[in-house]
């Protein structure tokens, strides 16, 4: 197992280098706004633009820029400075990470809390009215775009503009000054982000449970006289949940990498997703690079965690 983990970590580092290279190349190959011109302003002369370009090292050959960047990141943990605010990229990311992390953790707890019981019950009581209702509802939530759900939630339930003012609304995270207040400001975003994901997970778990409950060893367990609850929870769910664990690892990694863009934008949560939108709009390469690297890091880490968890969940899985 230890050798397996070390091998995965080394592959993870290699992947991060490749991701960095790809972002570099994309930034230079695909048309992007010139950060030197954006900084210089509308009436700046060419000399000033060249001077700024020199200052930002944008006139260095791309491989020199890339090598300098890699050295700074891997040797000094320095991700450079934002072209816009000159603030440290690392500081900005760490400043915004808590908001994204709180959003993700809360949403994960909520969606698992909904999806697992719903998926289990739907599988066990297949084709019942409850099963049909939950599956149709889940289809509705999967189909609804997150930004639309978010706006509807605001207009219905936000305590400043909603028809039924129940929850803190847009921008309330900015003014929350305690952990509890921050959690309060996340109630609507959690529900919105969890809605579609819970629906997907419920359907996956239902499908997986149906397959698992048809296995021979389940019949054997029943034949041995085990209580049905034990058959379902200890034997059925344990095997059926492995695809969910894979999904969960990917989803957490992606959300921490900035995939909650739409939720953060609708509710004005100052997280990683919101920052990447700002950075792309203003061609702020160091910021884009930094966020992509962090995102890749989270995805690698969480995939590794998931694979390790597999070994505990499924005794057939052993790593060498």
């Amino acid at each position: 197992m230890a050798r397996y983990i070390v091998r995965r970590v080394l592959w993870g580092v290699a992947l991060l280098v490749i991701v960095t290279a790809v972002v570099f190349i994309l930034f230079y190959v695909l048309p992007t706004a010139d950060p030197a011109k954006l900084r210089a302003g509308r009436t700046a002369n060419p000399q000033l633009i060249n001077d700024i370009r020199e200052q930002l090292h944008l006139d260095d050959p791309i491989y020199v820029q890339f090598w300098d960047y890699l050295k700074n990141v891997f040797l000094h943990f320095d991700f450079g400075q934002s072209y816009l605010s000159q603030a440290s990229v690392k500081d900005i990311i760490f400043d915004r990470l808590p908001a994204t992390a709180l959003l993700v953790v809360g949403a994960v707890i909520l969606w698992l809390g909904i999806a697992i019981p719903v998926g289990i019950i739907s599988a066990v009581k297949r084709r019942s009215l409850l099963d049909r209702t939950t599956m149709v509802t889940s289809l509705a939530f999967i189909s609804a775009p997150v930004f639309w759900l978010g706006l509807v939630a605001l207009y219905l339930f936000a305590n400043d503009v909603g028809l039924i003012p129940l929850f803190p609304g847009q921008g309330s995270y900015l003014t929350a000054d305690s952990f509890l207040a921050k959690c309060g400001s996340m109630l609507l975003p959690w529900m919105v982000l969890a809605a579609a994901t819970a629906a997907i997970y419920a359907r996956y778990l239902r499908s997986s449970m149906i397959d698992t409950m048809a296995e021979d060893y389940i019949r054997t367990a029943r034949a041995k006289g085990l209580p049905e609850r034990q058959v379902i929870m200890k034997h059925g769910v344990r095997a059926a949940i492995t695809p969910i664990v894979t999904l969960l690892g990917l989803d957490i990694g992606l959300l921490l990498a900035g995939n909650a863009i739409l939720t953060e934008t609708v509710f004005n949560i100052p997280g990683i997703g919101q920052q990447i939108v700002l950075s792309i709009r203003r061609s702020d390469l160091p910021m884009i690079q930094g966020i992509v690297l962090f995102g890749a890091f989270f995805i690698v880490i969480f995939n590794l965690i998931v694979d390790i968890l597999y070994a505990f969940l499924d005794p057939r899985v052993r790593y060498q």
Binding site: A33, L38, R42, L84, V266
Partner: protein
């Protein structure tokens, strides 16, 4: 059998019902309601901007400004954005500034009064207050004229990259040499020999020509906010300068730093570095009272205790409603959506006085590339303008309240506007006479251009257009594309991201398409020179950051622009620029379509005061009821 039909019909009925509801909703009328244009700005009286605090305005309270984006720079030497100025006018005292109702003459700020201008117009002398102190960490230091001189000099450094100093202060003696020195030594501010400080309270600007109007205008911007050299030079030595993270303030407010309490502004640490902690890029800027500020030396009353600039509100509809339904809030950098504008204007749920409409001093136009066929032919350009339904173009931004249809270049409230025709087009320019388009007249111009059918024909009519890929810019481009195609052009439209549109296409002469539909120009200060020095001046065309998008290079117009900026008498200047405007419009370089209005909403408990200089909230005059 019956059940099977029901299984089919039920979802079908649901879909039909949904489609019916969908098509019944929505509004086909894009025009915002107004009770009719009034005055020389075209803005209905009920939305007129208050430019003075009420007599019973009281001190205290916390103002919150909601914004979509961020300021551009905290460094006053680098700031070049009207929304940044909204805060800068409260944070930094410049040599001169703008009181809310000032539209022609700036208000003395650090200066004790109007400048002394020599008879030949080439020497401008200011005297400044001798008792204005900096905010912590320099609370024991008094502002001197050397600090103002240094502020202007450091703006030439590439690490500060001020966008307008070298343009508007080009007439100051020694400016060219200073610019060259800054290119050679990029970490030390050069000396501008034409700026002299014979003592701590006197500053003299020596000019090579009589371009004092431009100089005076530029001095009203944050570039003349004092920067103490001893404190700032170590930050300016870095590339780019990090002074913005340690800026020192002189206005009634300051951004929270490591010296003061983030609620009260009281000094908490005498040995602090001055590092700004209240600015979180993309999130929030927190302003508190400057403990060093002396109200007796300032024209600003500064009612509220704190100002919070919150960012990231991407949906203007929900953000506007949050303000209208909430308390102590105003809009910052975004207008309300057309839906909200209409709702407030109709006076139903909200009081119409919660919406304020002000000319922004900005223009929007569609640039036609005059350097290449087919738009190198003035008759074709006139045909395109005559054919354009400019009301339809204006509607893509939301309708009447978003601004009057533009009929010449100088916008409302800028000297020269009335002289150029006011809200009406200049006399004698028939192609601008109709705001909704005159296809017959367009056909006449096309015939003059050699197209006998009255429409464009042949390969000369294959044109390229690069515009915004997101609404409302994309909507404007699409409407204009349709209008061009009605005239016979084959338009290849490439939508791209907004900043890319400028930096890779429209601002690069070698890459510029035939049409740039989403360009515009906003004043730098309240003088018509700010409208002609760059956008229509031939020598201003530059190969990598061009803002003369029509690529206009008319020798007679160029000469007239050079001569007009040397006129000192305000009345004569306004008259001359009015004539210049007519002369420029006669060349038909672009399709003018709207003089932008700034539209803001406020919470009911806010006595919002608008600064007519930038059409935005003047936070130093705004109070909470």
């Amino acid at each position: 059998m019956r059940l099977r039909w029901l299984r089919l019909l039920a979802p079908l009925a649901a879909v039909l019902a949904f489609a019916f509801v969908l098509t019944s909703c929505g509004d086909s009328d894009d025009e915002s309601e107004g009770t009719g244009a009034t005055g020389s700005t075209g803005i209905p009286e009920e939305f007129a901007a208050p430019t003075a605090a009420p007599d019973d305005a009281k001190a205290g309270g916390d103002l919150v400004i909601l914004n979509e984006g961020d300021i551009d720079y905290m460094d006053p030497g680098a700031a070049y954005y009207q929304v940044t100025y909204m805060l800068d006018f409260a944070l930094f005292r410049s040599l001169v500034s703008w009181a809310p109702d000032a539209t022609t003459d700036p208000t003395p700020d650090l200066a004790t009064g109007e400048p002394e201008v020599s008879e030949d117009g080439k020497t401008i002398t200011y005297t400044i207050h001798d008792d204005v102190k900096y905010a912590p960490p320099l609370q024991d230091q008094t502002v001197t004229t050397a600090d103002i001189k240094y502020a202007i000099e450091r703006s030439l450094l590439p690490g500060v990259a001020n966008g307008y100093t070298s343009t508007y202060l080009s007439g100051v003696t020694g400016m060219d040499e200073a610019i060259k020195a800054a290119e050679k030594n990029t970490t030390e501010a050069p000396d501008i020999s034409g700026i002299e400080t014979p003592d701590d309270t006197t500053i003299v600007f020596n000019l090579d020509d009589t371009s004092s109007a431009g100089v005076l205008g530029a001095l009203s911007l944050p570039v003349s906010a004092p920067v103490p050299e001893d404190y700032a030079k170590k930050y300016d030595a870095e590339e780019p300068s990090t002074y913005g993270e340690y800026a020192v303030f002189t206005g009634p407010y300051m951004v929270v730093n490591d010296c003061v309490d983030d609620e009260t502004g009281e000094v908490t640490d005498e040995n602090c570095s001055g590092k700004i902690t209240g600015y979180q890029p993309g999130k929030e800027i927190k302003l508190v009272r400057n403990p060093s500020w002396d109200a007796d030396t300032d024209f600003r009353p500064a009612y509220v205790d704190t100002i919070t600039f919150q960012e990231g509100f991407a949906d203007p509809t929900s953000a506007s409603k949050k303000i209208l339904d909430g308390s102590s809030q105003v809009t910052g950098d975004f207008p309300p959506s057309p839906t909200v504008v209409k709702e407030v204007a109709s006076g139903g749920q909200y009081d119409p006085s919660q919406m304020i409409v002000t000319p922004s001093g900005g223009t929007r136009y569609i640039a036609l590339n005059t350097s290449e066929a087919p738009f190198d032919d003035v008759n074709i350009r006139k045909a395109v303008i005559a054919n354009s339904d400019r009301v339809a173009l204006r509607n893509t931004r939301g309708g009447e309240l978003f601004g009057p249809v533009m009929n010449h270049f100088i916008p409302p409230l800028i000297p020269g506007f009335e002289e150029a025709g006011g809200l009406e087009p200049p006399e004698g320019l028939d192609f601008l006479a109709s705001e909704t388009g005159d296809p017959d007249l367009a056909a006449e111009y096309m015939k003059k251009a050699g197209f006998k059918s009255g429409k464009c024909e042949g390969s000369a009519c294959d044109i390229t257009m690069v515009g915004d890929d997101a609404p409302p810019g994309r909507d404007t481009a699409t409407v204009f594309q349709d209008q061009l195609e009605q005239l016979g052009f084959n338009v290849q439209f490439q939508p791209v991201e907004h900043s890319l549109m400028y930096t890779k296409f429209c601002s690069i002469p070698s890459q510029e398409p035939d049409v740039c539909p989403n360009v515009g120009w906003i004043k730098d200060f309240n003088d018509p020179q700010a409208f002609f020095d760059i956008p229509l001046y031939g020598p201003a065309i530059n190969p990598s950051n061009n803002s003369n998008w029509p690529m206009l290079d008319d020798p007679q117009l160029n000469k007239a622009i050079e001569e007009a900026k040397l006129i000192e008498d305000p009345e004569e200047r306004a008259q001359e620029y009015g004539e210049l405007d007519k002369q420029a419009m006669a060349l038909a370089p672009f399709v003018p379509w709207v003089w932008d209005n700034d539209i803001m909403v406020r919470s009911e408990d806010v006595n919002q005061v608008t600064n007519l200089f930038n059409g935005l909230t003047d936070v130093s005059f705004t109070s909470i009821k």
